[in-house]
């Protein structure tokens, strides 16, 4: 008998009809001989409704009270789903985060899980019940209600799976798995059967928004096999696991991209200790997140320093950089917010040379100019003009033979 944790997001439980569908799926999993724990989000629209109520009352509601308010969203869903299960004759029991002691730190609105007491749930499972747990929420040591922030329900599911030593954590979403790239850009994109945690982290952070990074990290840390699959269609989805020596690694798993980038360059920066810090410190102080950072020596004791930010932060970042450049006596500041980032991801590239050159060659053949290059162990990212995004993705998809029939 396997123990599985399933998680359904807000869209999957967005109406009474959809809750009925989820109940049927859960009962099927239970009848297949599994012990089943299910984590649910607030019904779609509910969180926004609650946030709007809060903002009618106070411009800046306190984080503690916002958590008290928002946590009711999932509580409604767990009750309704349990009722739907019971109506079908399936014993079930709902729990809020606090009721199963999902202990978090006290960072309201973005709390991190510290511990979970699985004993109560295990008792229910052993009694044949389906256990229905509110995602996204917990309690701190003083019993205050906390929420985990964006994507928190995925994290709850993974944490429960870890605490209960589940055989698999299944995240049901509106896509049927993780693809080699975005099918809207490359219709020949292929659903992957398996992918490693490392690859998934690179794919997710680069804009393949299937799973929250945090949940993937958590699953990785506790080696919880994670499966992404569709709430609306049958299918095996994509399994995300530790690297498996028995499984032959493809060179490249997929191609991620990010349309929302802008790049800024400071030319002719004096090559002195602390310069990078003085530039990026100002950017960080303005709460602007930096993605890629590249520094090149161009001439004697003079550097070119480039970084990318989210496009919405471009104007502010440019202004700050211009100030800094003057202070530092830099030569010139350049900026471009019509660029995109394209990344090849694959654990296989670790042990294979020549991936980068194949990539650059393929792009060059199509006349796509590479503005920036940055690499990690399992990823090669390039920045190109945004008009070449689709062409770039399709070119690489073909160059690395990722299509459906391969």
């Amino acid at each position: 008998m396997a123990l599985i944790v399933q998680k359904y997001g807000g869209t999957s439980v967005g109406s009474v009809e959809r809750i009925d569908v989820v109940a049927d799926k859960l009962i099927k999993a239970h009848q297949d001989g599994n012990q089943v724990v299910v984590v649910v989000s607030a019904m779609s629209g509910e969180t926004n409704r609650l946030v709007a109520l809060a903002q009618d009352v106070a411009d800046q509601p306190s984080p503690r009270e916002l958590d008290v308010l928002l946590s009711t969203g999932e509580q409604v869903t767990i009750a309704l789903l349990s009722m739907a299960l019971e109506r079908r004759g399936q014993p079930a029991r709902s729990y809020t985060g606090g009721q199963v002691h999902i202990l978090t730190d006290s960072a309201h609105n973005k709390a991190r899980i510290r511990d979970i007491d699985g004993s109560k749930m295990q008792t229910d499972l052993d009694a044949g019940r389906i256990v229905v747990v509110a995602g996204f929420q917990g309690v701190d040591e003083d019993g205050n209600i906390t929420t985990l922030g964006r994507g928190g329900s995925d994290t709850t599911a993974v944490a429960l799976a870890a605490a209960l030593k589940a055989d698999e954590c299944q995240i049901f979403t509106d896509v049927d798995g993780v693809y080699t790239t975005d099918p809207r850009v490359e219709p020949r994109a292929r659903r992957m059967q398996r992918i490693t945690f490392e690859e998934m982290l690179e794919m997710a952070s680069l804009g393949s928004k299937v799973l929250q990074i945090r949940a993937v990290e958590f699953a990785h840390k506790y080696s919880v096999p994670l499966r992404v699959l569709s709430s609306f269609e049958e299918g095996p989805g994509t399994l995300i696991t530790d690297e498996d020596s028995e499984m032959e690694q493809p060179l490249i798993s997929g191609i991620a991209f990010n349309r929302d980038e802008a790049k800024l360059t400071c030319l002719g920066v004096p090559d002195q200790p602390g310069v990078a810090y003085r530039i990026l410190g100002a950017i960080a102080d303005a709460n602007i997140e930096v993605d890629m950072i590249i520094q090149n020596v161009s001439e004697d004791a003079i550097n070119d320093f480039t970084f990318t930010v989210h496009r919405s932060d471009y104007a502010r970042a440019l202004e700050l950089l211009q100030q800094k450049a003057e202070e530092l006596g830099a030569k010139e500041v350049l900026g471009d917010d019509t660029i995109v980032k394209l990344s090849l991801v694959g654990v296989g590239m670790r042990s294979h040379a020549g991936i980068a050159s194949t990539m650059f060659q393929a792009l060059a053949k199509e006349g796509i100019n590479i503005r920036l290059i940055s690499t990690s162990e399992i990823k090669i990212s390039v920045v190109i003009d945004e008009k070449y995004l689709e062409l770039g993705v399709r070119t690489l998809h073909e160059a690395f033979d990722l299509a459906e029939d391969s």
Copy 2:
């Protein structure tokens, strides 16, 4: 420094604007030098919305899950009210029933409070915070969420007041106090400044639906001074307390009435032990609540037996009584569902003779025929034809000098 518990019902917190009004009232009470705990209900309409959701999912949702669902209603209100207080610079902290350990039995949907841990609230109060508690809810020993059933928020307020040894428990409603009778029937009805618990219980059970009986009983048991006052107007309201020897008791406090009564009579019942039981047992088995019960000996070894029920149960009760009458060999069954009950209430009547005769005389003078009479220590009830209700109320109001200017 006094400690007061205030309670606001669903109408009083039915919108963001009304929550703002409540916040202002609370801050005023706090600035007047009081420590303030506030109990709130779900925003009006919210509980109905949740019940409708549940019924879309299951015809008969389980009581446990219904409690999980319904308890979110008050949780939304406590968060919003705390935000409104904080926005005004007033430190506040919200608590669900479970968070302040409102321990109940496990009778979901109609749980009874067993214990409350006031220590956390006292710490907050001593730190200058207003404590905002969700009414209507608690947890059982296993940590399951329970609700107290209808009028539960009044009960929560009284129970908190008892646990915290509050100086007063103030119930804010849509009326500005308890009146000598219903002002819609007798415009000269007067708001009482004080009334005893016993009188309030008689007034409440007779249809003056200002406070839930259960909350009054609870307040009586723990001697918590209870004040009913308006959410929407200024004013001292009505104080409900133990009988105070220093306070001069008026003969009569008020006149209650009940329009929803029907009476049934079984004539010529054999005078044998167990007959009353056999008649009322059948009625009770059908879950019909009986109000007045009157038995008179009419002839040798033959009784007349009369009782009243809610008008909606009249047809069913009549049918059952006819069956029983046949079994018992009774002479005849009579019924009337065009009657009302009128009651004089007052602790003062205990020590004064002549109240009943004044009452009967006043009614007779107006040609109002009395069908039934029933008395208790602090109450005289009569059943009359429903067409005389308004005339009867006004006649007694005048006969006992209850009007505004008296």
